[in-house]
Amino acid sequence: MTVTEDLVSYEDALAAYDPVMGLEVHVELGTKTKMFCGCSTELGAPPNSQTCPTCLGLPGSLPVVNAVGVESAVKIGLALNCEIAEWCRFARKNYFYPDMPKNFQTSQYDEPIAFNGYLDVEVDGETFRVEIERAHMEEDTGKSTHVGGATGRIHGAQHSLLDYNRAGIPLIEIVTKPIVGAGAKAPEVAKAYVAELRELIKALGVSEARMEMGQMRCDVNLSLRPIGEEKFGTRSETKNVNSLRSVERAVRFEVQRHAAVLGTGGKIVQETRHFHEEDGSTTSGRIKEEAEDYRYFPEPDLVPVAPSREWVEELRATLPELPRVRRQRLQAEWGISDHEMQSVLNAGAIDPIVATIDAGAPADQARKWWMGELARRANESGTELSALPISAAQVARVCELVAEGTLNDKLARQVIEAVLLGEGDPDQVVEQRGLAIVSDDSALGAAVDEAIAANPAVADKVRDGKIAAAGALVGAVMKATRGQADAGRARELILERLGVQG
């Protein structure tokens, strides 16, 4: 995709304008069944195999609200510090699209289940409060595959295939109030918000919120206003920005694009825009000349949802510790800096580290392995840390073997490699590969004698009191034993042999 737009530099844009953002995030709930019928929500089934009269919108069919979906929505609302409606209704959003079986979406309009909340996010150690307008329940559409066109879009396609397995999967749409005051940090704030929201959704256990699977999708609305002005500018709506990095890039790009248009006396057109992963640009989608008229009205096929106050309080009481609070607690417990904690978070290492600590490992050791060797290997193989084929218990066992002196760091890395290759538990690997440290004196003694004999000059230095020089002899011993020697014991033996006090 070629960028045809003129851009001004980000710094110049920020010197003249104040960005205002609005983020709309759709989260697919992880309920077993769809929002309004009993069909399975399992991913990956053959097309149209998980459908029924209701989610196909057949004549005569009717919806029934999924109680777990409502519960999830209330939990999300509570976790976002929202008020929970005492009484609210679904509404029909009327518009035509081939992958929407009823040609209206059952959604919520002016009576969302949750409203007026906030989510605190951190950027560079500073807390930024993102205010939440609303969180409401709705259903997903089916999926269209356009065949025969050049771009995979409907334009130019010969025919389209429709899969309604996704139709009716519960969605929660979370809409922020206008985010103002982020200034130059707007892209980071947007990214941090979506990241924090994802952590929160995962912690609540209501969705896996995997953006790459489309379980969480983000629309980025952005406008600029000249610094010092009250009135918001015209916004663009960039649809389906589906990774954290893309959220950041989309905001940055739109800031630069808007500034270029406004700076040359142009006007921003209110329109939807497509985001392009390849180069981080956006291009014009459809222009909204006038606001689309969805002819909302209360859904007459459903009865109102009226969560009792007792039930809401019960749910509030069962909410897990929220991610930010948990991070603050762990950071204090581990005694690490903001920066280190941020790295742990970015690496997706919090849960593996906590699990490893729970399995008995000291915090610093657990952190060291997950953020070091394991992070490196995850990076190399391009997988998530949590997806590596090693369990927290196995990592904890490696830590224990190191603490016992059975392994040193180098051997421990080999053990981890073997576990990742599927060779078994750490103990099995140590046994099978013969990786335990050699520490009995008879086996070590020979290696030490050899090292002294082979390096007489070094030995003399040590004898003369330059104890630091013993390191070279330890190195020789380690090399001779292919790293399996207990380095500490080897050093003791060397000093003993050379008649020096350690």
Partner: protein
């Protein structure tokens, strides 16, 4: 030999249960009757002879095995073509669903089958239940058995005509603004709109979701009650279905009594537009109720004046959304798909060809009424009127047990007379619409023939929501008294065809 088609449903079931006749004989008698006369009446859109005979045989087998039969086992029924029937066409009287074979049974269809009721076929109706004469059917009009040049009411004209011409002793209708009661009134039959939520709407093709209500149609009050009991009750697949026991309608129908009952006559259901003969028979009915021991009071429900206007905003609004799914993509008619046209063009051509003028009119009305900038003035105001009408009913029912009125201002009008005058057509539902807006239960039963044209007149009884049994208690008393007075049921006076 007894003519099996002239029996009531209760009598038919008793004869089958006793072995005096078989379900197959009964089904065959009705299929023969349909074959002989439906050419003249056109009550049925689809006759399922095979399915009916198979269901009848199953009943006879059950009896042969000594199994207990339900109160309507083996009784034939005419099903309005608005309920889905697995494997049997369902058109809703529209071209847009021509050829569609539903893959599932409506809850009501399932309950009929579970009660061993024999479904003869699907009856004609105004397209998508929009109309009061069955002239809006895409498959041609149905005739009134009392006078084949006249309408049988609508939208359930196929069901009412099937009953009045002895093609079936039982039928199912749906009532959004009067589509069960008004056809019952003009054909001299009995029709009941249960309390909203009393009968499941799952599998009933939607016209106006907040008003639509399926219900029983029959030739006697007791038959209607037996059918009501078979189809009513909570359905977890319909969120608006009432989760409470079905009112004791059969018991009420067996114990007709109005002694000490307070009956309200609504002032607003009279005046200009009401046929003299209709008012005469209605006033005689009120007199009869007094004679039977009821206390009659006149009362006013001022908001009823706005009911028709509110209805013609709410029903089209909901229909404009409910009918959006008919786009030619997944089922039913598809027009113009020649490989060169876009999906949007094909949808447009399909709707152009598939929807009739009244359906298009209502979709456009509703789309307009829901539009941004007009919503408050139209849909919003209509909902307020609906609330006011509900309050009028509440006030009335604080004072009386039931309300009575003529079911319809006139008797059956000639086919074609109001076809080009939608407003005149809409007036046919003047008295029936308030009960739909408030969700109350209501019945129409015959109260005589209008002297000027010799055509049936209907008496409407309205009860509060959930008090459906009151309709049957009052209806059974009135029916018994009239039958005694006339010396026979009213339908005996209908032409034999």
């Amino acid at each position: 030999m007894t003519d099996l088609t002239r029996l009531t449903a209760a009598e038919t079931a008793a004869k089958i249960a006793s072995g005096e006749t078989s379900a197959v004989e009964v089904a065959q008698a009705h299929l023969d009757r349909i074959a002989a006369i439906d050419e003249k009446v056109h009550a049925f859109l689809h006759v399922d002879s095979e399915g009916a005979l198979a269901a009848a045989r199953a009943v006879d087998d059950k009896r042969a095995r000594g199994e207990k039969l339900g109160p309507l086992a083996g009784v034939p029924l005419a099903l309005k073509d608005i309920f889905t029937t697995e494997g049997v066409p369902t058109t809703v009287g529209s071209k847009i669903l021509e050829g569609w074979i539903p893959p599932y049974d409506a809850t009501l269809t399932k309950r009929l089958k579970a009660a061993d009721i024999v479904i003869l076929g699907k009856t004609n109706m105004d397209e998508f239940a929009m109309g009061s004469s069955t002239e809006n059917s895409a498959y041609g009009p149905t005739s009134n058995p009392w006078d084949l040049t006249r309408i049988p009411g609508g939208s359930g004209g196929g069901s009412s005509a099937a009953l009045a011409s002895f093609q079936a002793p039982l039928a199912i209708g749906t009532d959004t603004g009067g589509s069960i009661r008004q056809p019952a009134a003009v054909t001299g039959t009995v029709g009941v709109k249960p309390t909203y939520g009393g009968v499941s709407r799952y599998g009933m093709v939607a016209f106006s979701s907040s008003l639509d209500q399926g219900g029983p149609c029959a030739r006697t009050v007791l038959d209607a009650a037996l059918l009501h009991e078979a189809i009513a009750g909570h359905d977890p697949l319909d969120s608006t279905s009432i989760d409470a026991p079905v009112p004791p309608v059969v018991e009420a129908a067996r114990n007709g009594d109005v002694k000490g009952l307070r009956v309200g006559v609504v002032k607003e259901f009279a005046g200009e537009g009401y046929q003299a003969g209709v008012m005469q028979r209605f006033n005689e009915s009120v007199e009869l109720l007094r004679e039977l021991g009821a206390e009659v009071v006149e009362l006013s429900c001022p908001s009823f004046t706005y009911a028709l206007a509110a209805y013609y905003l709410i029903a089209p609004s909901e229909c404009s959304s409910n009918l959006a799914r008919f786009d030619g993509l997944r089922y039913g008619l598809r027009t113009g798909d020649d490989g060169t046209r876009s999906a949007e063009e094909v949808t447009s051509l399909t709707r152009e060809a598939g929807f009739g003028p009244e359906v298009k009119r209502r979709i456009m009305l509703g789309t307009y009424a829901l539009s941004s900038g007009y919503y408050d003035a139209y849909y919003g105001s209509a909902q307020k009127v609906r609330t006011l009408i509900t309050r009028d009913f509440e006030r009335a029912f604080a004072d009386v047990d039931v309300l009575v009125s003529p079911t319809t201002p006139t008797t059956a009008f000639p086919i074609g007379e109001r076809a080009d005058d939608p407003m005149a057509m809409y007036l046919a539902d003047l008295c029936t619409i308030p009960a739909n807006l408030a969700g109350n239960a209501a019945m129409s039963l015959p109260c005589g023939l209008a002297p000027e044209d010799g055509l049936p007149v209907g008496l409407q009884i309205i009860a509060p929501a959930l008090a459906d049994d009151r309709l049957y208690r009052v209806g059974a008393a009135v029916e018994a008294a009239f039958t005694t007075r006339w010396g026979h049921p009213l339908l005996e006076e209908a032409p034999t065809l």
